[in-house]
């Protein structure tokens, strides 16, 4: 099993790194040996998890072991270094679902603390750590879940490929993620002064350069997550560019594939900025450099700029795949072509191109010079234009359709509704004047939960329900699916709508305690949060139960046209018996005689 071997190798690596740094004269008890030890742990973990067995042996003239397959290892392959994109997709999906629930549990914990003002169930430091843990784990889910799960499972099938371009790098990008969780949870388990990290997920220095081992853990975890994201993006880009089936021209690419493709540009290029920013913080901590010492020319604003150059594009890394799933599902259940297919792709590219020009709108109150605020406000307002294209595309698709309100469709429609609120409230943040009041308040909390949870996580669930029959070969319980939807949807509105009011009326974010006047609304929010949290129990029951004993699913239960629905559920290894030939557009519902793809070209036809 890759997990056990990985941890074993990792621990050995850590000890080796620790010993090495001590023997090189690094002071014992400082953070440097831990940082160096972690680098060795990470290398050891990857080697143990499968890089050595399936990859590195050949560098040393040894025979590589063959990667596990369904025939050779059965279900155990899900716990191993499999290079099959479908296995990796499921690994991503399950891992990040678990991280999502874990991060949700952390949210429950701090909502319990916030139920009443003056409560001291969590100490302020514990509160900050719990809140920050929720933040960074959810960021990990938001960045990786859709791209990792469906970008891996669905995208290669959609373009008619047998696998990703670099299957081993693909496995590597998955096996890079467990250390992130080890570190984050490890920081929560530390004791005394080393305990936790209390700087949110943004890790602004100088707060993040204050001593405390837990903070170092956080920084290393975030850097590791970035690495995974970069490798995944690289693989997706090359796969889409190089491995499309014959006839799969750019104009016939399913919209979901377009979504992960455009997103991957952002991950590939901008993740390195946050990596560099965090690297600077680590250097300031362990090597005594002075990046964030104001008297040396550095300072907090330097970090904020570098950080947001990544982290604003990162929100589009989160939301574009969400939009893409929504646009993928709407035509299927409206039985109409995707409205303005080319415009929607243009919208994606527009967002990608503009996403790098808006970062400083996170810094309107930071004391940066005025001449910077105005252009960034303008850029931010204008990014609503490509987003508007996505909206018209969605609305045009359902207009006059034949709407079948199955569970995936309900979630997809909820994305439109939620992102509408998320997007409109964003305008208030983009405006400098109102942002002076709204910045760093619960308004912002409400806004980004409406966009990322309401937009992306709802789309993630839409995707889970949509592709569940394809992934597992079994059908989920539709009634429970609908119950989950309405429970989650209403719970979500109840939690996050009042936050807008809270924010404008004086509740700032990331606080362990608040003034008594806001007690009533906070009580409501907390109670609704527990309700929202409970809705996932329905989901877990439904998914686990259906996976084990659900009815056999048809190959194409939704009547969809894209390639993944034209093959077996679950797909065979290498997906296709023969590489398909693509002959038409994927969303030509209602178009006479249009065929998206021919799966097994007749032998006679070739003659």
């Amino acid at each position: 099993m890759s997990w056990i071997k990985g941890i074993l190798f990792g621990v050995v690596g850590y000890l080796a790194g620790y010993w090495l740094s001590i023997s090189l004269g690094v002071e014992r008890g400082t953070e440097a040996p831990f940082a160096i030890g972690y680098v060795f742990f990470f290398a050891g973990w990857l080697l143990g998890a499968g890089v050595w067995d399936h990859w590195a042996r050949s560098w040393f003239g040894l025979e590589n072991k063959t990667p596990p397959t369904k025939e050779s290892h059965g279900w155990k392959r899900y716990f191993m270094f499999s290079t099959d994109h479908k296995v990796i997709g499921v690994q991503y999906l399950v891992t990040f679902a678990l991280i999502f629930f874990l991060a949700g549990a952390f949210a429950m914990a701090f909502r319990y603390e916030l139920m009443r003002p003056g409560r001291d169930w969590l100490s302020p430091k514990e509160f900050n750590t719990v809140m920050s843990t929720h933040g960074i784990l959810m960021i990990a889910v938001a960045v990786s879940a859709i791209i990792g799960a469906f970008g891996n499972f669905v995208m290669p099938i959609q373009i008619g490929a047998e696998d990703m371009a670099f299957p081993r790098i693909n496995a590597l990008s998955y096996w890079t993620t467990p250390p992130v969780v080890f570190l984050i949870l490890g920081a929560n388990l530390l004791q005394g002064a080393d305990y936790g990290f209390d700087f949110g997920w943004t890790a602004y220095p100088p707060l993040s350069t204050v001593a405390g081992l837990g903070k170092l853990f956080f920084l290393l975890a975030f850097m590791t997550l970035g690495l995974s994201s970069i490798l995944g993006a690289l693989n997706i880009l090359i796969t889409v560019i190089r491995l499309r089936a014959p006839g799969m021209t750019w104009g016939r690419l399913p919209i979901f594939t377009w979504g992960v493709f455009t997103t991957s540009f952002l991950s590939l290029i901008f993740t390195q900025f946050v990596f560099t920013g965090l690297f600077m913080v680590v250097l300031d901590r362990v090597a005594g450099t002075a990046f964030f010492a104001p008297d040396q020319g550095g300072g907090a604003l330097l970090y904020e700029n570098i950080f947001w150059i990544y982290s604003h594009p990162a929100v589009y890394v989160m939301i574009i795949p969400g939009f893409a799933i929504m646009l993928e599902i709407l035509p299927t259940f409206a039985r109409k072509p995707l409205y303005g297919y080319k415009w929607a792709i243009g919208g994606f590219f527009g967002i990608v191109a503009m996403s790098a020009t808006v970062w400083a709108h996170h810094m309107f109150t930071s004391g940066m010079p005025d001449w910077m605020t105005v252009p960034f406000m303008a850029a931010t307002e204008f990014i609503s234009i490509p987003t508007g294209i996505i909206f018209l595309s969605a609305l045009g698709t359902i207009w006059m359709g034949k709407l079948r309100l199955k569970t995936p469709m309900l979630f997809a429609l909820a994305v439109v509704f939620n992102f509408l609120i998320g997007g409109l409230t964003g305008i208030f943040n983009a405006d400098v004047a109102t942002d002076l009041q709204l910045h760093d308040t619960y308004w912002v909390v409400g806004h980004f939960h409406y966009t990322i949870v309401g937009g992306e996580i709802f789309a993630l669930f839409a995707g889970i329900y949509y592709w569940f029959p394809k992934i597992t070969g079994r059908m989920f319980n539709e009634k429970l699916g609908k119950l989950h939807f309405w429970w989650m949807f209403l719970g979500f509105q109840a939690v996050f709508l009042p936050m807008f009011w809270l924010g404008y009326n004086g509740m700032n974010r990331r606080i362990a305690d608040y003034i008594p006047e806001l007690a009533g609304t906070n009580m409501w929010v907390s109670a609704s949060a527990f309700l929202l949290g409970a809705s996932f129990l329905v989901f877990i029951y439904n998914v686990v139960n259906s996976w084990v004993r659900g009815p056999q699913a048809a190959n194409n239960p939704w009547g969809a046209r894209t390639l993944e629905w034209q093959i077996e559920s679950p797909p065979i290894e290498h997906n296709f018996h023969q590489i398909p030939t693509v002959t038409g557009h994927p969303y030509d519902y209602g178009v006479e005689g249009s065929v998206h793809a021919v799966l097994a070209p007749q032998a006679e036809a070739a003659d």
């Binding site: 190089r242 390195q272 990596f275 250097l283 020319g297 550095g298 330097l302």
Partner: protein, 187 residues
């Protein structure tokens, strides 16, 4: 099942593109760090900085790129001995570069620009990040060397060697930017 994706020539281009995207991504780290240099210190540089030593190690790295290129051409030609000879020179030059940076350059810089100063911060962070890339490049080249010794590469199929060499050139390109920006630019 035989498809275009399995065609070795097609696959080679796929891999090349992959490597280029990786290089694009990696260069963002250095772009961020080098921009930070201007943001933090403008073009300030301490008087004591040893520009001649910088010129020396730049030359070493440039020569190593030259020999790396020769190694690649040799293996494409099928000349294994020439390939290994050039690769060995490249590795030795790379090691010399690394040793000079870590054992000569850094202790010297510690005196006039310790990491607790603005310039020292940038100097150590950027040259350190570069040295880390040199180290990985060296490890890759050493692995390639021994693989080549075992007879692994042929004129038709030497992607392993090519990728290592291209990465090595990338390390050189980074230094082409680092050297003037850290050592030469001045008020």
């Amino acid at each position: 099942m035989s498809t275009l994706a399995h065609d070795s020539k097609y696959q080679l281009v796929t891999r090349r593109l992959g490597l280029w995207l990786f290089i694009l991504s990696e260069s963002m780290i250095f772009i961020a760090l080098l921009f930070t240099r201007f943001l933090m210190q403008g073009v300030y540089r301490p008087e004591e900085l040893n520009q001649t030593l910088g010129l020396g190690i730049t030359t070493i790295l440039l020569i190593s790129s030259f020999t790396a290129n020769r190694a690649e051409v040799r293996i494409a030609q099928g000349d294994r001995t020439g390939f290994l000879r050039n690769l060995a020179i490249t590795i030795i030059l790379g090691l010399v570069f690394l040793v000079v940076v870590v054992a000569v350059e850094w202790p010297e810089a510690l005196h006039f620009a310790p990491p607790s100063t603005g310039y020292g911060t940038l100097f150590f962070a950027i040259t350190g990040m570069h040295a880390f890339h040199v180290l990985t490049g060296l490890i890759i080249l050493i692995i390639i060397f021994f693989q080549g010794k075992r007879g692994q590469y042929s004129p038709e199929d030497h992607w392993g060697a090519e990728s290592g060499v291209v990465y090595w050139h990338f390390v050189d390109v980074v230094w082409i930017f680092v050297y003037p920006i850290l050592y030469l630019f001045g008020p």
